[in-house]
Symmetry: C2
Amino acid sequence: MKIDPDSPVDLSAQIARAIRDAIVSGDLRVDERLPSEAELSEQFNVSRSTVREALKRLGAQSLIRTQRGATGGAFVNRLTYPEAYGQQITTATLLISMNAVSFSTACEARYALERACAPMSAERRSADHLATMRAEAHRQAQPGLTDEAFCASDVAFHRALVDAAGNPILSYQLAGAVEAMQPLMNMITFSARSRGRIVGFHADIADALEAQDADETDALLAALARYTDELAQSVFAAREQAKTQH
Amino acid sequence: MKIDPDSPVDLSAQIARAIRDAIVSGDLRVDERLPSEAELSEQFNVSRSTVREALKRLGAQSLIRTQRGATGGAFVNRLTYPEAYGQQITTATLLISMNAVSFSTACEARYALERACAPMSAERRSADHLATMRAEAHRQAQPGLTDEAFCASDVAFHRALVDAAGNPILSYQLAGAVEAMQPLMNMITFSARSRGRIVGFHADIADALEAQDADETDALLAALARYTDELAQSVFAAREQAKTQH
DNA sequence: CAATTTTCATTTGTCAGACATTTAAAAGTC
DNA sequence: GACTTTTAAATGTCTGACAAATGAAAATTG
């Protein structure tokens, strides 16, 4: 762990890097306690504040957790799936919103990834996953649902579909793609008719999964992808026209 | 932006949260300058060190960047694709290494996702992508290549395949899946014979993409997935046997 | 002796004030 | 006008202090 005080890079960034490397390389094991802030500041020959700033950086990436008190300190954190999901979702959401990603691009990516799960989901789907999907489809058919609630239920449906594949790495990867679409989906107002179509797709997908029919599931997802994109395009076009007339 | 000094949550975490929310909600726009540390410490009624720790947290997530000097300060950072790739890769790598994810699970996820790209890659592949893939396949055939170099080239090949789909969101999502596999792949020693098979697959995939044959590409990727997993299983089994004999 | 309470040392969280360094704009100089 | 110097503002770092949490050891009590 070498630190260069004359580097143009902040000391706290260098220290964070050194500790991160130690974690990634396995030098520091999960749940192992790091030296106290005072010890670290002595080791690296910097002030305690600088060490603290480095530790905050690592904490923000869920690489460490800290605990106060006598036996407290900073511990190497086991990155859990929920934590990784969360990071994945915020990153993907920001990436999309800050880079003017088009609806079509995001939609294409999302459904391509979902279709990658379809064969495994069809093979391994449990009764639990099917029940969740049917419950969400039922919720979506309720009248008086706000667009936000409809989209949230849509996300829940698709997450169940992905989770049904029984591969946690896939679920983690897909979490970002599915959830990050929600802000874009929320831009659309769904008519009763379009909601009806989507719910129909969802019911058919649940049926296909129950029948363990991978090809049918894939075809339905492809059709749903096409319909979603067409719907969005027509909504955007209508909005554009209203603007020019106005 | 409300801060509660009596909350069990650290003040710096609360402040980071408040600023992050302002960024995500669009209250703070890209490249907009945040108030100076002194101003923030007055606004939130905390010391400058606490504000600084909050800013370091945000910096670690690439949400802000800081600049020294008269016109310096903290600015809302536009999350670029390379930055997002990097975060995605470290998170995915740590998730796999810290949670004892099996080779089979990671391999299945990776190839399922890659196959999701295949139809688009076949349709849109450019001469550039094909050239990259052929160059990497050629490199992989060179004798005397270390296992690490072989794996690195393998990653480069597959990233070109993914990038050929021409969907940046897909590329971003797949970066994690492909790169995070590398440490696992590095655990395998590739015999000349198995390298030959893999290079053969790569050449065939490049051919199929050039011919814009999506079905053939998909079939080859599926076969490569199967071969990779079998290879890993036999390597692990051999190692296990050697251990018990020893 | 066992259970409870108290004390205490350790560690992180926060604060205040100082100085160093960087940077661009303003002021001065030729 | 072009160049140099000064200056002000901002982040980066350091020092020293106190608050708060927390578990372990010590003291107390029944």
